[in-house]
């Protein structure tokens, strides 16, 4: 989404956290899982809307700075709103995801749920990107003023995509909460946003498949590296962050379009079809 529109949203961690806390708290209060998740998604989208009102008039780096600020504010709220979030002590005992009486309480079962959600959001993102709506987003990335003169309300398009992207981050956060069953403010740090950004840049801006492939590779890499024995003086967590940082720099310099670049949309088929239909009409 960021890739297609060229909007630099650095607030992913915040929306991820809002989704996680909202659905965790509601589920703990006894709400069915599906409703709790829905609430998390909607609230993440609503916060995105509020943030969008002032910030979407900003462009490029300014938007990045403001959304980054939002990430930090959200974390401060999670940390200090003790009566609700229990601050740094975190929220334990979040119910597992369950649907129609079926509990996703083992890793295997959760994998099915996670894969289903991934497939659903992937298809949604894919169809959105290749709709006329997605086409306008690409145009905004290329040249905002040119889209405006064509009579399109650029602000409205940006707002919609910000809400959709943030709601999806909210969904991811709430899935996370119901999987690990414990969340604390440490789960939603800036670093998470950069991790996501790295995935998107590496995967290819404006390409949904790239993001999925790179995420899978990364998580495999990250989890796999846990088993590598490191000398005691090396801090594995810091090393990991350092490595990813270096990777991001290398990626931006050498593969700015990503490993799987944006696919070209061609119309040859439709065009030829229209052409042959016309030819037939002439024959008649």
């Amino acid at each position: 989404m960021v890739g297609a529109t060229g909007l630099f949203n650095l607030g992913h961690a915040a929306f991820y956290g809002i989704g996680a806390y909202t659905s965790a708290l509601l589920a703990k209060a006894g709400l069915p899982w599906a409703l709790a998740v829905l609430a998390g998604v909607l609230l993440a989208g609503f916060v995105a809307f509020l943030i969008g009102i002032p910030t979407l008039r900003l462009v490029g780096d300014y938007l990045a700075v403001v959304t980054m600020g939002l990430g930090e504010i959200a974390r401060a709220v999670f940390k200090n709103w003790l009566p609700v979030t229990r601050g740094p002590m975190g929220l334990p005992g979040i119910p597992h995801a369950s649907l129609l009486g079926f509990k996703f309480n083992t890793a295997g079962r959760f994998l099915v749920l996670g894969a289903a959600c991934l497939l659903l959001t992937y298809l949604l993102a894919q169809r959105l990107l290749h709709s006329p709506f997605g086409r306008v987003l690409k145009g905004i990335r290329e040249d905002e003023a040119a889209v405006q003169i064509l009579g399109k309300n650029v602000y409205r398009f940006k707002m919609r995509i910000l809400i959709i992207g943030s709601a999806m981050a909210g969904l991811a956060g709430s899935l996370f909460a119901h999987y690990v069953t414990f969340i604390d403010p440490g789960s939603f740090v800036m670093w998470l946003t950069f991790f996501i950004l790295l995935i998107i840049v590496l995967g290819g801006l404006g390409n949904n498949l790239g993001a999925v492939v790179v995420t899978a590779a990364f998580v495999a890499l990250r989890e796999g590296l846990r088993f590598v024995k490191l000398p005691g003086w090396l801090n594995p967590a810091a090393l990991q962050q350092l490595l990813f940082g270096v990777l991001l720099i290398i990626a931006t310099i050498f593969v700015p379009r990503g490993l799987i670049p944006e696919r070209k949309v061609t119309y040859k088929r439709d065009y030829n079809r229209a052409e042959s239909r016309r030819a037939q009409q002439r024959l008649r």
Binding site: A146, I149, L150, Y267, K268, E275
Partner: protein, 250 residues
């Protein structure tokens, strides 16, 4: 069709446009000329809502459009091209054109995702129109090519064609002939004349090349230091002593 009344625009202490008035009637190719910095492009920016005038009013089809936002003005049927081409480079020619039609059902996220019958029908219609227009300008071979890979002249054609896809009534062209070799200039001029002749479009053209302006326009206004110093047919303009003094003679 377009009426500009006593339009002024200040940038700090500089008056870029100074009590400028003119009227473009339906089906006309109206030229706006003047030396560098005489305020031509500023007039364009004022008419299309990119700048807000300091004083004066702008009417389009008897409706005041002063102070409207660019996309609202676009919705009403005024479209412009830019002095330096602004095509969407990392989108194909076809995508450039298909983006343009106004009020597409698929621009609504929900309908776009669902790809309803209406969305698909509009899409097919747009493809057909785009294909027709591309055939008209001889760009059908590069329909699926990225705009950024085309020559400057081709990109200019794409920009004008894209503007047409919105079905505009008034088209503002900012230096359509600049940076293009003379043969292609003639091709673009033919294209503009045909659009006027066959589809009754109205044009407001800013241009530097006097040969182009004299041969293309029905009527011309001359700006100097933001003021309109003359208006008339090409013949009247080229004989006007004030114009020769300010512009043509030098």
């Amino acid at each position: 069709m377009l009426k500009v009344v006593e339009l002024s625009k200040d940038f700090g202490n500089l008056r870029a446009v100074d009590h400028c008035s003119f009227e473009v009637s339906q089906g006309l190719i109206f030229g706006l000329i003047g030396p560098n910095g005489s305020g031509k492009t500023t007039v364009f920016n004022l008419v299309t809502g990119f700048l807000e005038p300091t004083a004066g009013r702008i009417y389009f089809k008897d409706r005041e459009i002063t102070g409207l936002r660019p996309y609202q003005i676009g919705q009403l049927g005024i479209v412009r091209t830019f002095q330096l081409v602004r095509a969407f480079n990392r989108m194909t020619v076809m995508e450039n054109l298909l983006l343009a039609p106004k009020n597409q059902a698929g621009e609504n996220c929900l309908l776009g995702v669902l790809r309803t019958a209406k969305v698909r029908r509009q899409e097919q219609e747009a493809i057909k129109r785009a294909a027709d227009l591309l055939a008209l300008v001889g760009l059908e071979k590069v329909a699926d090519e990225y705009c950024g890979n085309l020559s400057y002249a081709e990109q200019k054609m794409v920009e004008i064609t894209r503007a047409l896809m919105t079905d505009p009534q008034l088209i503002l062209l900012d230096e359509p002939a600049s940076g293009i070799n003379p043969t292609l200039v003639n091709q673009i001029l033919d294209y503009i004349r045909r659009l006027r002749g066959e589809q009754g479009k109205t044009f407001l053209v800013v241009e530097h090349d006097m040969r182009v302006i004299m041969n293309l326009c029905d009527r011309i206004a001359v700006l100097n230091y933001g003021q309109k110093i003359a208006e008339g047919t090409p013949a009247e303009i080229s004989a006007d002593p004030r114009v020769i003094d300010a512009y043509l003679g030098v």
